[in-house]
Structure formats: structure tokens, C-alpha cells
């Protein structure tokens, strides 16, 4: 198996810690080598582009250049980017640099000030893409130890993973995570909101708007009898999980649904210890018990 | 010697002209009298109803009934005669189509009685008497036939076998009919015993009708000095000839009067008035509504003009609203 470089992004070192822990555990279990990108910097996220576009692209480009340099063996570097926002910013930077010569010209100019040279060889990969397409769902399925049979899971992709630059899934109706849930033995809930915006940073800045967007997602998931939501983005996970109390208080809902990273759920199915998966970091903790009839696990909030 | 065929004549609502026309046979009447045995003819011979009642059913070979059916008595007699006769011949326009009497179908019985007994300018009737159906006095009971609300042609009351059209039928047609009866060489039941071609065919004025006629005004005979040889239609007068069965020998047009339609329509038409209306109006010269109106108002009484002899036999029969 080849080696993947790993770009955590700022969130996986704080609110999204569990994502990092579970992802690394799962990759270890799957015998995939992952090496953190040295001295990576913030991708710029959505905010940076609002202030200065050239700086925003340069920030992102620096990480891509570092990846190119870190992978000394001549192989094309593949940069594992679990955060959706980082993933979008990095892919967008690549795309624009290759599509618009003037973008590349200006970013190159900025990079050269830091003695960096951009080649554009780095392949930005999302762990979901790697698991589904490099490792393969068959392998995943074979390695399941605790079948999740009967577990109803709503897969939340968020907006930025498939829009507009990713190419590993359908922009309007992504299915990778749903297939993954099936491979783990669970049941993916048909849920039309899987790519609808969770409101991003608006929960913090304009909660009146942000929480409403958030609430719609949660209410619909519950209505469709999902027992848990899994996500592939630290901000989405944070938004969906941490505001449930507030939404309940503000809007008179009664929502208590675990929101986990897909890697956490994989870890559970693989039978990995909860501590390795950051389960203890969740606000809404799922409780598991074996379902004798189905031979799988059940989850309770 | 074999018994002579029995023949009868009867008279319903009519002017009596038809009875006269029998006499118009002139000397031929002798031939008829020779060949047949007239068993019932109220206008000429004294018979009572009881005589007819006494006759065996179908004992009369043919009865010629003229006149429309207006009263209960006429209805009653028609039925009685029907029972006693093998053939019924509707004789003349009134029996054939309702005739002039059926123009009364534009009015109700009440309107008619009211006019005749009260309103007419020549009537003086201060007690406002009306004929009564029955009057009982001193142990005697006098009855009168009922005046029906609707005038009917004969075949609206009883089955009719043949029709002799005309007001009145010509002696020629009568003679031919009698001869046919005598010979037993009879046409199909329901036949009108006259040629099935319109009058123009035999009208001496036929040649004078132009091919490109277009009416701009209609005149009534009293309004113009009629040319004695020109087609009346060409002179702007309504002549029913084109829509009327021939066979009358064009007596009217020869007498300088336009045809008024007494022979009725040909077998191919079901409503004589509608047909002549269609034909005449089609050739009105106007091409806009106002002009059409202008030309056509010169026909003041379409019903009286086009249905003079046949309102009872027309498709509409009677004015709606004149029932009561």
C-alpha cells in the first residue's frame, strides 16, 4: 500500500480531534500508512478569500508545495484532507491555478518570495474517497467485526466535499458514504438534505440563521428515523452535534441524536477500542449494545 | 249483374268548393254515377248517420273526404267512415294538408271564439253569448259538436290511403282517380294522385323566368299591374309554383294569379313553406344584414304566404302558445 500524506487542517487539532483520532486508527487497522504534512499551515478556509484572494490562494498553495517536496520518492504526492473546507480550498486552488494562467502567475510570484515552487503534482484526496476507491468497500466489509445490521444512519456530506471541484462522487446526490454504511452492515437512510448547507460559521456569527439551517437537517433526520448521523467534516459535525441543546431550547424541539464521524463508525464496526476513536469526546454519546437477533449493534442516544 | 262498387263523399271543415268540384265533372259525372253506387253524400242526398252506422264494415270501396278536421263531429264521422270504407281518399287541400282552415292554428280556440262572437267589428252581441256544447231545457237535451283547439288534416285523425290535392282538385284528377279505383290499378298507399313535378313544369310563363334572378323587393298582386305572360317571380311577386306540385293545369297562373301552393309539396319535400322560403330568400340580392332585412320585410306574413294551404300539415303544425 502506498503512503498518504496527511493534512489535518486547523479543526482536526481542536474541535475535530476525534476525527483525527478515529481516522488514524482506522487507517492503521486497514494497514494504510499515513504521514502528517510537515509544518502545514491553515488553508485559508472560506473567510480568507473574503479579505484577499491572492493571499488565500497562496496560503493553500504553500501546503501543496510542501506536499510535493515532502514526498521524496518521486511518487505523486497524495494529500489526505479530511476537512471538507480544506479539501475544497486545496482543490479549488489547484483547479484555478491550472485553469486561469493569471492566478498561477500571481500565486507563483508570492510563493517565490518564500522560495517555494509550485508544480501542481499534488493529488488532494479525501479519506472518504481513499476508503471507497483505493481500499475498496469490499475490503472494508471483509474487515468488519461488529456488523451494524439494522442501524439506521443518515449520511451527511455537507456542501463542500462534492461541490464544486471533487470528482469522486455525484454533486447533487453523493452516495459514497451511504455505500460505506451498507458495507459496514448498516442501513443508510434516504435523506434529501445530505448536501444541504449546515450554515458553516453562521452558527457562531448569525445564530438566528445558522441554527435554523441546522435545525432543519436534524429534524428531518429524526423524522426519517435515523438513529445517528455521520459526517465527514469537522465543522458539520460540530454544528450538528453541539447546538442540539440550543436548538431544543430555542425552538422547542427534542433532538438527541449522535453525530459521529464516519471514521468513528468504521472503527466501531471494526471493533476498535472507543478510546482510540474519540467516542468519549462526543456530546451526544451513543450507547451500544449487542443485538442478539441481528448479531449487530444498537445505538441509543 | 255484379254489384256496383259503393262510393261515398263526405264534407268536413271546408268551404264546400270541393263538393262543387265533383259537379265540375260535368257530363262525366254520369259516367261515374253509372259505374259506381254512391251510398253516402250528405251534400247531395239525404242520409243520416244511423244509415252509415248500419252499413257493414268496409262495405264502401272508397270514400272521398274533403275538409279539415275541426270539430268533434267531423272527427267522429271520419272515424266512422274509415271503419266502413276500404279506401279513404283525402280530397282537396283541407283534407290533404289542413287547407285554409288550418291557418287558424295560429290562434287558440279561445282567441277565435272571442273574436268571432265578441270582438269582430261586425258583431253585435251585447249578451255576450257563445255556442254551448249542451243545452237542456224542458226535458230536451240539445248538443253541439265541440270546436277543437287544433285544426287537423285528415291523416292526423284517421289513416288515409290516397290524396287528391288542390283547392279544389281538378275534375281531371278526380276522374283519373275514380278510373284508377275502378280498374284496381292502384299506386302504393299514401300516394298523392297528381304529378310529382312542380308547377313550373306546366306553367306557360316558365320560359320567361330569367336565369340570373335577384330579388330586391317583393310585391303582392294587388300592388302591381301584373304582366299577363311573364313569370310572377320575375315580376317580384311570390309565386309558390316552384315548390308546389303540378297537375292543376296552371289554372291560376293562366288566370293571371300567382300560384298560392294548394297542391302541396312534391313527395321529395317535407315542408312546403320551408322549401319556398329557402328558394326565394337564397336569391335575395342583399349582401349585408341591413339590406337583407329591407328586402325581406316586403314579405309581411311569411306563415300566411308560405303555409296558406298546409299549416296543419307543416312540420310545426300549430303556433306554440296557442294551445290554450
Amino acid at each position: 500500500m502506498k503512503k498518504y500524506l496527511y493534512y489535518p487542517g486547523c479543526s482536526l487539532h481542536s474541535t475535530g480531534k476525534a476525527y483525527e483520532e478515529s481516522m488514524l486508527s482506522v487507517f492503521r487497522y486497514l494497514n494504510v500508512e499515513v504521514e502528517e504534512l510537515k509544518d502545514w499551515n491553515c488553508c485559508g478556509a472560506t473567510s480568507y478569500a473574503s479579505i484577499d484572494e491572492v493571499q488565500a490562494f497562496s496560503l493553500a498553495a504553500r501546503n501543496l508545495v510542501i506536499a510535493e517536496n515532502q514526498n521524496g520518492n518521486g511518487e505523486l504526492p497524495e494529500l489526505l484532507t479530511p476537512c471538507n473546507a480544506c479539501y475544497l480550498v486545496l482543490t479549488k486552488t489547484q483547479k484555478y491555478m491550472s485553469t486561469y494562467p493569471h492566478v498561477k502567475e500571481k500565486v507563483d510570484q508570492a510563493l517565490s518570495a518564500a522560495s517555494l515552487h509550485y508544480e501542481g503534482k499534488t493529488k488532494v484526496r479525501h479519506p472518504l474517497d481513499v476508503i471507497a476507491n483505493d481500499i475498496g468497500l469490499k475490503t472494508v466489509s471483509d474487515m468488519v467485526k461488529k456488523n451494524l445490521q439494522g442501524l439506521r444512519v443518515a449520511c451527511y456530506y455537507g456542501c463542500q466535499i462534492v461541490r464544486p471541484f471533487a470528482d469522486f462522487d455525484d454533486q447533487h446526490n453523493p452516495m459514497t458514504m451511504d455505500h460505506l454504511v451498507s458495507a459496514l452492515g448498516g442501513e443508510a437512510v434516504d435523506w434529501p438534505l445530505k448536501t444541504r448547507c449546515c450554515s458553516g460559521s453562521l452558527t457562531g456569527t448569525i445564530p438566528e440563521a445558522g441554527l435554523r439551517l441546522n435545525r432543519r437537517l436534524l429534524v428531518e433526520a429524526v423524522k426519517r428515523k435515523a438513529e445517528m448521523i455521520i459526517t465527514c467534516c469537522p465543522l458539520c459535525q460540530f454544528n450538528l452535534e453541539c447546538f442540539q441543546d440550543k436548538i431544543n431550547a430555542n425552538y422547542g424541539e427534542n433532538i438527541h441524536i449522535p453525530v459521529m464521524y464516519f471514521t468513528q463508525l468504521m472503527g466501531v464496526a471494526f471493533g476498535l477500542p472507543e478510546g482510540d476513536l474519540g467516542i468519549q469526546r462526543l456530546f451526544v454519546k451513543p450507547s451500544w449494545h449487542l443485538s442478539s437477533q441481528k448479531g449487530g449493534v444498537k445505538v441509543h442516544a | 249483374m255484379p254489384e256496383k262498387p259503393k262510393v261515398a263523399f263526405y264534407w268536413c271543415a271546408s268551404c264546400g268548393g270541393c263538393e262543387e268540384s265533383v259537379v265540375d265533372l260535368a257530363e262525366d259525372i254520369l259516367m261515374v254515377a253509372e259505374a259506381v253506387d254512391i251510398v253516402f253524400w250528405p251534400v247531395a242526398m239525404d242520409f243520416k248517420k244511423s244509415d252509415v252506422v248500419a252499413m257493414p264494415d268496409r262495405s264502401i270501396v272508397a270514400t272521398f273526404i274533403n275538409g279539415a278536421i275541426r270539430t268533434s263531429e267531423q272527427e267522429e264521422m271520419a272515424r266512422l267512415i274509415r271503419k266502413k270504407s276500404q279506401f279513404i281518399i283525402a280530397y282537396g287541400s283541407c283534407a290533404h294538408m289542413g287547407g285554409i282552415p288550418s291557418l287558424a292554428n295560429q290562434f287558440s280556440r279561445e282567441q277565435i271564439l272571442n273574436y268571432v262572437y265578441h270582438e269582430a267589428p261586425t258583431v253585435q252581441n251585447s249578451e255576450r253569448t257563445r255556442p254551448m256544447l249542451e243545452l237542456g231545457r224542458n226535458g230536451t237535451r240539445v248538443t253541439l259538436p265541440e270546436f277543437r283547439n287544433t285544426v287537423r288534416k285528415l291523416d292526423q285523425v284517421i289513416d288515409v290511403d290516397y290524396y287528391l290535392p288542390g283547392c279544389a282538385p281538378t275534375p281531371k284528377l278526380l276522374k283519373e282517380a275514380v278510373l284508377a279505383l275502378l280498374s284496381g290499378n292502384l299506386p302504393p298507399i299514401g300516394t298523392v294522385l297528381a304529378p310529382d313535378v312542380a308547377l313550373c313544369d306546366e306553367c306557360p310563363r316558365k320560359e320567361t323566368k330569367p336565369e340570373d334572378i335577384a330579388y330586391t323587393e317583393f310585391k303582392r298582386p294587388h300592388q302591381v299591374v301584373t304582366d299577363e305572360s311573364t313569370c310572377f317571380l320575375a315580376q317580384g311577386m311570390i309565386c309558390m309554383g316552384p315548390a308546389t306540385r303540378g297537375g292543376c293545369e296552371a289554372v291560376c297562373t293562366k288566370g293571371n294569379m300567382p300560384c298560392t301552393g294548394c297542391f302541396g309539396p312534391t313527395s321529395r319535400c317535407i315542408d312546403q313553406g320551408a322549401k319556398i322560403l329557402s328558394s326565394i330568400c337564397s336569391a335575395v340580392s342583399a349582401t349585408n344584414e341591413i339590406d337583407m332585412e329591407k328586402v325581406l320585410t316586403t314579405i309581411p306574413d311569411p306563415v300566411g304566404t308560405f303555409y296558406r294551404y298546409g299549416l296543419a300539415g307543416s312540420l310545426l303544425r300549430k303556433k306554440i302558445g296557442s294551445e290554450k
Binding site: C10, C42, S50, E53, V54, I206 | -
Partner: protein, 213 residues
Amino acid sequence: MISLFPLGFVENKSSPDPRDKMRKIKYESELDLKFGEQMAAKAYGQKLLSCIQCGTCSSTCPLSDYMDYTPRKIIAMTREGFRDEVLNSLTIWLCSSCYACTVKCPRQIHITDVMYTLKREAIARGVYPKRYPIPIFSREFFNIVRKQGRNSEAILLIKFYLKTNLFMMFKQAFMGLRLMRTGRFSFKRDKIERIDKLQRLLKAAESIEEVRT
């Protein structure tokens, strides 16, 4: 009802509903006729001009209910040079960059980039709604990253609330504590090793004029 404008932000004091400000006649001389083309150039090509005003962007936008002008209208106004209205609008700041409009636009207009462009233009011209929380949030994010090379979420939020709404911070304090308890929130500044080099890079980038087609 909780106000959408938490800081008591009212754009035009004389008219309480900002939408009403369009209810007047507009003279061409009041417009910036070059604005449309300029923005089109900054937002990746002439596609902005090819907008057919179908409204797909507005109807697909999860936030259009909270906007003063729908995205469609922003584009129409941008094209036609309604510069002040556009740059002062809340719409551009409410865009959460979800890219839903961009992938659905039948003319393939990069609407999210248009919004970025307009945000930057508003900041550059100093006409953005200054007390509206989002530009402040962006600015704080920008500052932290420039300083550390990475973002520290806890610090960003504290700074943001300090500058906007202290009351909100107290309201959020419980969640902050929970996050800290679960090890997801830390006031430790995450800083990259070669921050000097990064800052040189950003400085260089800063001096480079904005990208145009």
C-alpha cells in the same frame, strides 16, 4: 422573534426595511456603468454577464430567505452598475460558500466567487456593513492566520465575541466548557514552525494586485 441583525444593525435609518430603498426611480447617472464588467473580470470571466436571471441561484440558496436581495438580484444589480446597493447588501456576507448555486447555475456562473469578489470589493472600498458580525469574523480569522499560520478556534471565537457581542460569549460559555472538557477546545495557540517564511509569502501576495481575467 430573534432579530436577524443581532447588533441592531440597520442599514438605512430612514427606511426600516432595506428592501424599500429600491422603490424609487433610478437615473443612469447614479450608476457605476463600469461596475458590472469590472466585477465580471474579477469573478472569473464574462460569465457573470451571461446571467439570464432565471433565479436558480436564489431558489437553491439555503440562506436566501435571510438575504436582503436574492443572489439573482445581486447579479442583475451588479451587471447594471448598482454598485452601492450591492456592496452595502447583507446578501454577500450571508453567503456561506456552500457552492449550491454554482453547481446549478445554467450559465455556469461562479456565483460563490462573485460573492467573494463583492465582499472583497466592499472591504476594499470600505463600504461593507461595518458592525455586521461576518466581516468582523473574517477579519479576525485573517489576522490570526497571518500571525500564527494556523487558526485557533477558541481564540478566534473569543476575539470575535469581544468585538461584537460580549453577551453572546457568556451565552456560549457553557458549550465552550463542554468542548474543553472533551478536549476539543484549547487556548493553546497552534503555530507553524516557519511562520517567518509564511508571513513573507503573505506579504508578497498582499502586494500583488487582485486577480483579473
